[in-house]
Symmetry: C2
Subunit: 149 residues, 2 copies
């Protein structure tokens, strides 16, 4: 479904939402270790997320990555769009074309309703709201050190 890059991007952005703010910046290293994701790969990813205004950064001592209030108004789809683009969602499930009800593939009318509805849900909820839910209801950002019995 999503590329690994996109998955890491969502997880790490939500991690920053939970643990960072303008006065508390976090280095790639700490984020990478916290959510158990390859450090140099995440570094690359963060560069792109900064360019895409999804997250913020400053260099130098006490520098690092963090989310501003504005960053927190973005939604999950913005993150995915910044990394993978939205083609994955717009394209035909069987790879024919731009998914199109005028020339539907055999599974088109099965898949299309789900796609639109899912897309909506990812668009309607801000990072801030996700963060709130994570801290209130407990959501997992990594399986690292988790006892799965």
């Amino acid at each position: 479904m999503l590329s690994r890059a996109s998955k890491y991007a969502v997880l790490s952005t939500l991690f920053l939402a939970e643990h960072s703010n303008v006065d508390k910046k976090i280095s790639v290293k700490v984020v990478a270790e916290s959510i158990d994701v390859p450090n140099p790969f995440l570094a690359k990813l963060f560069q792109q997320l900064v360019r895409g205004k999804i997250i913020s950064s400053t260099k130098g001592p006490n520098g690092g990555f963090f989310l501003t209030e504005k960053n927190r108004q973005k939604n999950v789809l913005d993150i995915i769009e910044n990394i993978d683009g939205l083609n994955k969602f717009n394209d035909c499930f069987l790879g024919l074309n731009e998914c199109d009800s005028k020339n539907p593939c055999p599974v088109h009318f099965i898949v299309e309703p789900f796609k639109n509805s899912l897309l909506g849900k990812f668009r309607d909820k801000t990072i801030q709201e996700f963060s709130k839910e994570i801290s209130e209801n407990g959501r997992v950002l990594t399986l690292k050190g988790l006892d799965l019995s």
Copy 2:
């Protein structure tokens, strides 16, 4: 979402459902050209689909690929399972683990209902039924030679 291999597998199996039967076998070449898919790649794929009992084949003159009545009772999920496996559907949307309501990731309760419902729809409809719908209602198996205006 699906690998290209899976997409080709679904399309070509539905093509065989439409155009072949025990008395009318079709060569890879014809299928590949008809649905506009790379010939040698499809040949490899067909080998695997035959082993997985999704489609049937015979060698020699007048040989080729075709669907038996039994083949037609399989569903789309059987095809996908044979090529990609079902991990894509069982795994967590954010790549954490086997998707699990006990340790839900931040998007778990958004994604899970869709996943199950979509899975069900792909399991409930046989190739035969798809084929019927294709011939009755017109569904596109390729964009080759299609005038998209």
